[in-house]
Assembly symmetry: C2
């Protein structure tokens, strides 16, 4: 049922070699993004204190009335990291309740998410590239091969909500920049 070496997806050139792993592309990426968002949240808390703003104002901020508020954006990107990693690993994603009401609550949710994805095995995730992944989309259950699911659905969704959360804080005046978003880039050096 699971191939340890997945074939390239249909439609890819025959000469395409397998050069990175699905685990390497997912869990360590989610870890970097989630860990750096803890720092962003600390800056948001400091900004609120300095400006005598109730931080719950940030949690409720939307870029438009019909867009989701900051707190939902953070819940969704946490669930993105958790559900994507779990589904690729062939594990049932643990349910986390959407009950965050403070910056500390969001930090706790991120820590819980990090703790969970660290438990997943690289080999299980790597085995998913050519395996069918079933996932909800609105009222429907959808099916994609693991690599397609990750590259064309799960990862763009994750970055969408992560960036929107960042943009809402930036819109509220929190003093953050691109390097806060990227976080600690692994194995980078001056050329």
């Amino acid at each position: 049922m699971c191939n340890l070496r997945a074939k390239p997806s249909p439609g890819l050139p025959e000469e395409t070699a397998l050069t990175i792993s699905l685990y390497q592309s997912s869990v360590p990426v989610f870890e970097r993004c989630l860990a750096t968002f803890l720092t962003i949240l600390d800056k948001a808390a400091a900004h609120a204190a300095a400006h005598k703003v109730d931080p719950s104002v940030y949690l409720a901020t939307r870029l438009r009335p019909d867009m989701l508020p900051f707190v939902r954006q953070t819940q969704i990107f946490c669930d993105g990291a958790k559900n994507t990693s779990a589904r690729l690993a062939g594990v049932e994603p643990p349910k986390m309740e959407d009950i965050e009401a403070s910056i500390d609550d969001i930090k706790a949710r991120i820590h819980k998410t990090l703790d969970f994805i660290k438990t997943l095995k690289a080999a299980d995730i790597d085995a998913a590239a050519d395996r069918d992944i079933i996932f909800p989309r609105g009222p429907n259950k959808m099916k994609m091969k693991g690599a397609d699911y990750f590259l064309h659905f799960a990862l763009p969704n994750f970055y969408f909500h992560l960036t929107t959360a960042y943009a809402i804080l930036r819109f509220n005046g929190v003093d953050i920049g691109k390097s806060d978003y990227l976080g600690e880039i692994p194995r980078i050096s001056q050329a």
Copy 2:
């Protein structure tokens, strides 16, 4: 100098298998995102016409005075797709001037970017996973292995500017939603 089969990055578990390709993770992803942004731009043009707004207002919109305007976000994500794909392929990225002044100009830039990345060879990009990539970051020249560069610098940057561009149009009231952002998801079906 270039290994067709890259070893897992340092720090990854030994059992990590190579299960997807760097080409598969980059060019087709950029293609989907850029192609769908053409549709988003058509919706922006239609929205401007319906509301008798000069579309150049959208090009100049920023979420904050010290954030980049919409037109720069689109130039940067186009350059992200172009430069990332070129560097991974070991090709000098062609320079494109930042002269867009209309929605049609941005569409033309996207088409030029799509035309360029389609010329790159999958095997050249796949050979980059363990090769040093040199790239500018602010005033510095930085160095990373291809897989790290792609996963922890280039792709998060690309999605950052793509999502911010989307958010600016959304903020301006353009009638777009998540499915416009995701575009045509390949090989998805109902389970």
